[in-house]
Every structure is written in structure tokens, then in C-alpha cells.
Amino acid sequence: MKVSLFVTCLVDQLWTSIGVSSVEVLRRIGCEVEFDRRQTCCAQPAYNTGYLREARQVAQRFISIFEESNAGAIVSPSGSCTAMVRHYPQLFAGDPEWLPRARAVAAKTHELSSFLVHVLEIEDVGASWQGRLTWHDACHGLRDLNLKTEPRTLIRNVRGAEFVELDHADACCGFGGTFSVKYPEISVAILDQKIDAIERAGVDAIVSGDASCLMQIGGRLSRKGSKVQTMHLAELLSHRQ
């Protein structure tokens, strides 16, 4: 299948290896990957901060770009960005021109693990990684997209990886977009609950499906001098020994 990669602005600017790994995994399992260089952002920052006019402008651009693609699916390594695109119909509710276009693009957009497990029905991507790891359920992926079993299924098939369930894996990491810098003290207090759980789990790596959570968690782990690696699911799945 041909897929159009929606890499997300965060990965594009701050964590390119997530994008590179995603492409590698998709190609390895036989997909043709297209990358439309006109893409920028899904508009989540503006939407979440209450700037709807700006959010609609940027969302319209996203829709205009991706609706032109003849790929079978638009795939993204981010639960929160995928959830944002799935909210486009709500953003354009009552708009006779944009609502159908928003619906069409939203229906075609998938988060990576969901795409692998549900669309391609692949649970083993031939990855291997030695060590003990655990998973953090990113909020939007979990609650907006119902991603729970998909990443765990994929991880369990990574050869050599010992998976342990994190205490309160579904508790928020405290990022929340601009919340992390508008209320940094609360953001870090929430984060420390996650960090404590990670330390108790005694793992070599913490894996998640959203770069934003990984930046939040990784930023605190490194501030505390922890040896625990932060890894995106795509990076884990592209790993081979």
C-alpha cells in the first residue's frame, strides 16, 4: 500500500529519528511511503489554546494538501496529532464546503500502531531490541483513539525485549501542550509521579507513541541523571540487531 506520511511539526523539528524510523518500518513491511513536503502542522497548538480562527486556517491547509494524495492512508507517528485531525469535522461543523472535506481526510488518517495492527493486520514487524522496557499510554492516543492493545501487541513481538507494565501507565505525563509552560510547577509535579513509576519499574527504556510525552518524560529523566532511555515506538520497531 502507498501511505502518505504526516510526520508532525514536532518530529520534523525536534526528533527526526522518529520520522526516519517510521519510514523505515513502513518500507520494511512493504509500503510505499510518500512525503508531501508542503506539510507543516495539524493546528493542535492553536486549537488547544483557544485560537480557533488560526486553527481553522492551518487545518484547511492540511486538508487541502492531504486530500490531493492518492495514497491509501495518511499515517502519523503521533496519537495527539492524529486525534487532532479526527477532530477536524468538529472544527468545521456546519461549514458546507469544509465539513465533507474534513471528514474525508480525517477518515483516512491513522496513527502508526493502529495502522499496522488494524489496517495492515501486521503485529510483527521483525524488530529486535535487547533490554527491559515499559510503555506510557499517551492521553490522546489512549482516550481519543482508543489505542491500548495495539502498541503492546507490537512491542511483545520485538525479539529480546522484556516488557513490563508500568504502574498507572495511563496516567498523564503532565505535558498538555502550552500547559507545560503556563503551569510548569504543576506540569513537573504530575510528571514526577510518572518518573517515580518508571524508576520503580526498573527498566532500561520507556517507550511511547507521542514525541511530546517523550520530550516531557525524557527532559526530566535526564535532569535527574537517569540512565533510562526514552524511545518512540517507531524507533523501537525499526531497531534490529
Partner: protein, 456 residues
């Protein structure tokens, strides 16, 4: 009483985070409540269906609220209840003070009512010379401490037993003890005396049944039964959104409320009160007054997203699930209604100007929506309010920042240039400092994915 202000939420939160005793109490309470709710919900195989039914019933009522209120009033009046309408807090307090004064009520006992906390009724009654005693143990504790409630269903949950003991020793002359059973029986003995002397009882209302004119009250302690059956006058205060259509609907709500609030199948007592007693003699109040309060609720009907705020059955589950509430507790919100539901109804009831920080005090994680028995989409409500605030009250610099952001995101060229600028400025941006106080900053990549793709 020294209420914190909603407008200083961030400062309030910082102070709360520094209070180790508070954080311990919060951790204990919210995790216990959360666990119990989870077990109770899991014990009902049709839990999801019940939530859907409850929400459908609430949607039906709220979209015809005037009709159902009128039906309730007719039914209640036909059974002897007297109905009073209050447009705002001041009017509600004035009506209740007048009722009490007309009957020479000196001692008034109260059971827990968030609505009367909202109107600051006790202050008004005390100013009018009446003695008001809270009889719910948690409310009694905070009344003695002169503090606002910190949780919708467990008002004194921020206090340790040691703090309660100190309070009782100071205010009631109780010999020092840490034993919770002792503390409870001290409160019970003191309050029995007030019950015996009470001229009037004031309660809230959990549900008001339009079909029969019945008010329903739910509790564990027995103080509501005492408050509503011993004194000769009973005043029940309710927000206009408390009405539900049919008596049979209680099956749904009585399954959801106790489980969501405390993890119980049923609380110890439910009182179903319909009008006044039949005979002049016999037990029970001679007069029942029901006060219907608006105080900003009718405004919330004007949009489907805000209307769902009124579906709330005041179970408190969202507070226990909220990562922000779990860390800072209820007082930081500066409102009688804290936590996720508080963050959305406080700005709507009090006005955006009085509570403009609250809708931003959330990571939008959605845990609240997941546990809400009536499926209120609180994150969506928060976004709606953020939209309103940025429209009416937003900071000029933030508005400008997002205008620029949109321009950049609309143009691949500007986007590319901004990333170059970002690489240069990232360490000095104010945003970077708010981040780096607790976390290391991840730097912008020397080559973006766009550029790597082009290289390929």
C-alpha cells in the same frame, strides 16, 4: 474566611505543591476514591449503557428545562410544598433569611449543600443574627476551621486526622486524641445538641422529580434525615438543573451516583420527600420550602457544549481522576467547585473575568471525561471556554504570537526560516525558561525531517 482567588490559581497551586501534608492527604484520598469507583463501576456489566441513559435523560431535561421545572413546581405545590425562585445568590440568601426571620428561627441546622456554599448562605444567615450549624461531619470540620470545602463530596479531605484533632481540641475543648472514632463521636455528641435545639433545617437536593414533585437526598451519616425530619421547617435549596423527568429515572441515577462518588452500591440513606406531612400532628416538618436557584445556570443553556455542564450530578469522580487536582487539591481553584467540573462551571457561573485562569489549568488528558457518569466532555468544554477567553480577554502578545504562528504554518518557506531562527534563539526564549526550570530542553535538530527527506 480567607478564600483564595481563582485568578491567582498558579500562585495558589505553587503554595499547595509546597505543602507536604496536603499532598499526602490528597494522594491518599484521590487514589482510594479512584480505586473504589473503578471497582464499583466494573461490578455493573451495563455501566456504559447506564451512562448513556443518564446522559440522554439529562439532555432531554435540559433542552426542555422550562417545561420540566414547571411540571415539578406544579406537582410539588399540589403536595403542599412552597416554591421560591431566586435569580441570583443575593436573592436566594434574602429569601431564606426572610423565611427564617418570619418564623423566629434562631438555631438552624444544615446538611451539605454545594449550592448554599455557592451563594455563601451561612454568612448571610449569620449576619442576620441566626446560628447556623453544619451537620455533615466534613462540613462541620471546615466550618470550625473557617475554610471553604476542598472537594465536592468530602469537604475536609485535605485535613489529616491530627489537624482535625487539634481543631476539635481548640474549638470544642476535646481532650487530645488521634482516634478517628473518638473524633466522630465528639462531633456527633456536639451536633445532637444542636439538632435538638434547631428551629429550621436547610438541605440541598440531589434530584428533583418533575413527575411527582419529589426531592431526593442521598447521604451516609444520617444528618440529612435529621435535618429534614426534626425541625418544624425544612428549606431545600436546588440549582434549576437538578430536575429529572420521572420517578423511574432514579433507577439510573441511584446506580451511578453512589458508585461514582464513593464506590458504594448505595449510600446508607436515601430520603424521598414529597410535600409536607398529611396530618398536623405526627413527625416531620410542618413546612417545606423549595428554593430554585438560577445564578447563571440558564445562560449555560445557550450552546450544546456549555449546556452539558448542567448535567453534572456532583459525584466528584472527575476531581479524583484529575492529575492537576491530585497535585494541588481544591482550595487552589479558589472556588466552591474545584477540579475539572469546577474549572468549567466557575467561569460560567461567576463570569470569565473572575476565573479566567481555570480553563487553562488542565493538560486536557481526558481522565475526567472517562469517569464522568453523565459523560460530560470536559476537555471540549475547556477548549470552548479557552476560545471565548482568547476572544474577549486574551493577552495581546499571545494573540499576536498565534497570528504569526499561523502565517508561518501556512507557508513552507516561512516554516523553514522559522526553524533556522528557532535554532538560534531556542536557549533564550521565555518559553524555554519555563521549561528548563524542571526539565532539560531538547534542542531543535540541525536538519529537519523535511531536509533529510530532500537529501535522500
Amino acid at each position: 474566611m480567607n478564600h483564595l482567588s481563582s485568578e491567582t490559581f498558579r500562585e495558589n497551586a505553587k503554595a499547595a505543591l509546597a505543602d507536604a501534608q496536603l499532598r499526602g492527604a490528597l494522594k491518599n484520598a484521590t487514589s482510594l476514591f479512584g480505586e473504589r469507583r473503578k471497582v464499583a463501576a466494573a461490578s455493573l456489566p451495563n455501566w456504559e449503557e447506564l451512562r448513556n441513559q443518564a446522559r440522554a435523560i439529562k439532555d432531554e431535561v435540559l433542552s426542555h428545562l422550562d417545561k420540566y421545572l414547571e411540571e415539578f413546581v406544579r406537582a410539588a405545590e399540589s403536595r403542599g410544598a412552597k416554591i421560591h425562585w431566586a435569580r441570583d445568590a443575593a436573592e436566594a440568601n434574602a429569601i431564606i433569611c426572610r423565611l427564617a426571620a418570619e418564623r423566629n428561627a434562631r438555631v438552624i441546622v444544615k446538611s451539605k449543600s454545594m449550592t448554599t456554599e455557592e451563594t455563601h448562605l451561612n454568612t448571610a444567615l449569620q449576619a442576620a443574627g441566626m446560628q447556623v450549624v453544619e451537620t455533615d461531619l466534613g462540613e462541620y470540620i471546615i466550618q470550625l476551621a473557617d475554610e471553604p470545602p476542598s472537594h465536592i463530596i468530602a469537604p475536609a479531605i485535605h485535613k489529616t486526622r491530627g489537624q482535625v484533632a487539634e481543631l476539635f481540641t481548640a474549638e470544642l475543648g476535646m481532650p487530645p486524641t488521634d482516634d478517628i472514632a473518638q473524633l466522630t463521636s465528639t462531633a456527633r455528641a456536639t451536633l445532637r445538641d444542636r439538632f435538638a435545639a434547631a428551629d429550621a433545617g436547610i438541605s440541598g437536593v440531589n434530584f428533583a422529580i418533575a413527575e411527582t414533585g419529589t426531592i431526593v437526598l442521598v447521604e451516609n451519616e444520617g444528618n440529612i434525615r435529621l435535618t429534614t425530619s426534626l425541625p418544624r421547617m425544612h428549606i431545600a435549596v436546588m440549582g434549576i438543573e437538578k430536575v429529572i423527568p420521572r420517578f423511574a429515572d432514579l433507577d439510573v441515577f441511584l446506580k451511578l451516583l453512589p458508585r461514582s462518588g464513593t464506590g458504594q452500591r448505595l449510600t446508607t440513606y436515601q430520603s424521598f420527600i414529597t410535600g409536607t406531612k398529611r396530618h398536623a400532628t405526627g413527625e416531620g416538618p410542618e413546612e417545606l420550602h423549595i428554593l430554585l436557584l438560577d445564578n447563571g445556570r440558564s445562560r449555560m443553556l445557550s450552546h450544546p457544549v456549555t449546556r452539558q455542564s448542567l448535567a453534572c450530578i456532583r459525584c466528584g469522580a472527575c476531581l479524583n481522576a484529575c492529575p492537576v487536582y491530585q497535585q494541588v487539591g481544591g482550595h487552589a481553584y479558589g472556588s466552591v467547585y474545584p477540579g475539572p467540573i469546577g474549572a468549567v462551571i466557575t467561569p460560567q457561573l461567576m463570569g470569565i473575568d473572575k476565573a479566567s485562569q481555570l480553563p487553562y489549568a488542565s493538560s486536557l488528558c481526558g481522565a475526567c471525561r472517562e469517569v464522568c457518569p453523565v459523560k460530560i466532555d470536559i476537555p471540549r468544554l475547556l477548549l470552548h471556554l479557552r476560545g471565548e477567553i482568547s476572544e474577549r480577554k486574551g493577552s495581546a502578545s499571545e494573540r499576536l504570537a498565534f497570528k504569526i504562528w499561523a502565517r508561518v504554518m501556512m507557508s513552507p518557506e516561512l516554516y523553514r526560516l522559522s526553524s533556522i531562527a528557532g535554532r538560534l534563539l531556542q536557549r533564550v526564549f521565555p518559553i524555554s525558561r519555563a521549561w528548563t526550570s524542571g526539565r532539560d530542553l531538547r534542542l531543535i535538530e540541525p536538519k529537519s525531517f523535511h531536509e533529510l527527506w530532500s537529501d535522500e
